[in-house]
């Protein structure tokens, strides 16, 4: 009697989960299979590896600063550039964000709450508009140059440079770095810091040998949450880079607009694989660092 009762409730719970199971199979797993399927087929859906080889071998002529042209591997160049800008932006977020996360975690509880809200407010503004606002601030006739000329300094030219793209990425994804680090640091046991100090650690070595290793899980999720969107963005580069810095996201979007769905899928497929491997490496290195390789 009892047994049948329990199995009946288990059945109810399984039934509750059923719609989501079917849903995620149909609209999460199957679509990813379609990416692979499109990546390895041509327009008539017969098998080909051409899309993948095109990513690695397609070339184009790039005009250098001195006016000469050189032949480059188009998509490898774009991917390299995406990776470079994303890594720089992620590091900038980490370097700028870690101190603020630490300050927040050490503040009074009321101040902490206010600061968390303040960090989150920019995320409530639509991503496109946030980016566009930076464009009006940074452009040649923008506010920064307005102030600079009023003070009597030379105007600067930022829009259309890699710096502008990086500023946009750092701005858009900054909260994703700060919040995970903060949530780990806020839970940190203060006694550990006191113990380290009692045992003769200076402020710097407490930070380096106790606080930072313990905050590693937050740092890892911060890095993931900034690196992934910034490597795959396609709006920031179009607006702040003036379309001069094609990134991997721009390449996917461009192929989609041109209706080259199979090649778009191939680029997305390669991006997905690289991110999977990259994230596995980040997690592995972090685990080794935190637990000393045990």
């Amino acid at each position: 009697m009892k047994k049948s009762c329990i199995s009946r409730t288990q059945g109810t719970y399984r039934a509750a989960l059923a719609p989501y199971s079917v849903w995620s199979l149909l609209f999460v797993i199957v679509p990813l299979v379609f990416v692979a399927y499109y990546a390895f087929t041509d327009n008539s859906f017969s098998f080909t590896t051409e899309n993948i080889t095109r990513f690695f071998t397609a070339t184009s002529n790039m005009i250098q600063d001195d006016g000469t042209t050189t032949e480059v591997r188009t998509y490898l160049l774009i991917f390299g550039r995406s990776l470079k800008l994303a890594v720089i932006s992620t590091l900038a977020c980490l370097v700028l964000g870690y101190p603020i996360a630490y300050i927040m975690a050490r503040a009074k509880e009321k101040t902490q709450k206010t600061m968390v809200t303040l960090i989150m407010i920019p995320m409530w503004m639509n991503f496109l508009i946030r980016t566009y606002a930076w464009m009006t601030i940074l452009q040649d006739t923008g506010i920064i140059n307005g102030i600079l000329t009023k003070v009597g300094l030379n105007p600067i030219h930022v829009i259309g440079s890699e710096t502008a793209v990086i500023i946009g990425m750092v701005y858009d994804y900054f909260p994703y770095m700060v919040l995970p680090i903060y949530s780990i640091l806020a839970k940190l046991d203060v006694k550990l810091l006191e113990a380290a100090r009692d045992l003769g650690c200076g402020t710097v070595s407490v930070l380096r040998r106790v606080v930072f290793p313990l905050s590693m899980p937050g740092v890892v999720s911060g890095i993931t949450m900034v690196l992934i969107p910034s490597i795959s963005t396609f709006y920031i580069s179009q607006k702040l880079g003036n379309g001069k810095f094609f990134l991997i996201g721009d390449a996917i979007e461009g192929q989609y607009v041109a209706n080259n769905l199979h090649f778009a899928a191939a680029i997305a497929f390669i991006l997905m694989l690289i991110l999977l491997v990259g994230m596995a490496i980040v997690k592995y290195v972090a685990a080794k660092y935190v637990y000393g390789g045990e």
């Binding site: 409730t9 288990q10 109810t12 719970y13 399984r14 039934a15 509750a16 989960l17 719609p19 989501y20 199971s21 849903w23 995620s24 609209f27 999460v28 797993i29 679509p31 990813l32 379609f34 990416v35 399927y37 499109y38 700028l96 101190p99 300050i103 503040a107 303040l118 989150m120 407010i121 920019p122 409530w124 503004m125 639509n126 991503f127 496109l128 508009i129 946030r130 566009y132 606002a133 930076w134 009006t136 601030i137 006739t141 923008g142 506010i143 307005g146 701005y171 900054f174 607006k239 996201g249 996917i252 979007e253 989609y256 778009a264 899928a265 997305a268 991006l271 997905m272 991110l275 994230m279």
Partner: protein, 274 residues
């Protein structure tokens, strides 16, 4: 707080708020310039209210977000209840993985993957364009549901497991026990999950961009189209309005969360005393 910490915080928050302040100020600018403020006016707000297409896209966005929220909240809550009680380790691990996928995958890949499937299936049925309101709705439910699950699941885990069992011992059917005992307990999680789903759906651009079609335009897609050309402060007026609406929604969700925490800590205190 030390002085250096204060200065550093001021710089960081200055950086974070600069574009927002610029936006708010220039939405009231009399002239079209986005860099010189020539005088206060409501002109752009008035012009915004006359812009039929933008208002239509606001309506579309709200309809889409509301539908996606209802579906993902119901499905996500049921899923969380189911996952919480799963005994098969394998099934649980599989559910955790598929819940993680839409949150860790870049938006562009989520968008592309759904689009490819929709286009393929549409072609099977001989449709020339297969992207419409429903494909967008599916996409939005797909990326919102994991967030609902992640809000509800912890509440279920925090709940005293003896409560629904006691209800069933006292004669409740499992369904009744769920409705009368479990549901009120996890309600705050459901509400925060729903609000999160709603704001995520309102704000989404990338996934919508790949899965929209057939004249159904949401606000972020319209903004994308507008920023391709030169933008007037009308868009800033719009951004200001959205900003305050989202802020109000999130403050409400914060408030609910705080009240819930207060209630929980009071219950704990009482339990300790007895």
């Amino acid at each position: 707080m030390k002085l250096s910490a204060k200065i550093y915080s001021a710089i960081i928050f200055g950086f974070l708020f600069a574009p927002i302040v610029v936006l708010l100020i220039f939405s009231f600018n009399e002239s079209k310039s986005l860099s010189v403020f020539s005088g206060f006016s409501w002109k752009w707000y008035e012009e915004l209210l006359r812009d039929r297409n933008t208002l239509e896209s606001v309506k579309n966005t709200l309809v889409l977000a509301a539908s996606a929220t209802v579906i993902s909240t119901v499905m996500g809550t049921l899923a969380a209840v189911g996952i919480n009680k799963l005994r098969s380790k394998w099934y649980r691990a599989a559910m955790n993985t598929v819940t993680d996928i839409p949150m860790t995958n870049p938006d562009i890949i989520t968008g592309i993957s759904l689009m490819l499937m929709f286009v393929f299936v549409g072609r099977l049925f001989g449709a020339s364009t297969s992207l419409n309101f429903f494909t967008m709705l599916i996409a939005h439910v797909a990326f919102c549901t994991p967030y609902v699950i992640l809000q509800v699941l912890p509440k279920l885990q925090q709940m005293d497991k003896a409560l629904p069992e006691a209800a069933m011992d006292l004669g409740c059917t499992p369904m009744r026990a769920f409705l009368k005992v479990e549901l009120p307990e996890i309600m705050p999680g459901i509400i925060t999950g729903a609000i999160m789903a709603f704001t995520l759906s309102l704000d989404d651009f990338v996934i919508s961009y790949f899965t929209s079609g057939n004249g159904f335009e949401t606000l972020p897609i319209r903004i994308y189209g507008m920023t391709k050309k030169t933008v007037t402060p009308k868009m800033y007026a719009l951004a200001t309005i959205i900003f305050f609406v989202t802020m109000a929604l999130l403050l409400i969700s914060n408030f609910i969360d705080n009240e819930d925490r207060k209630r929980l800590s009071e219950v704990r205190k009482k339990n300790k005393k007895s």
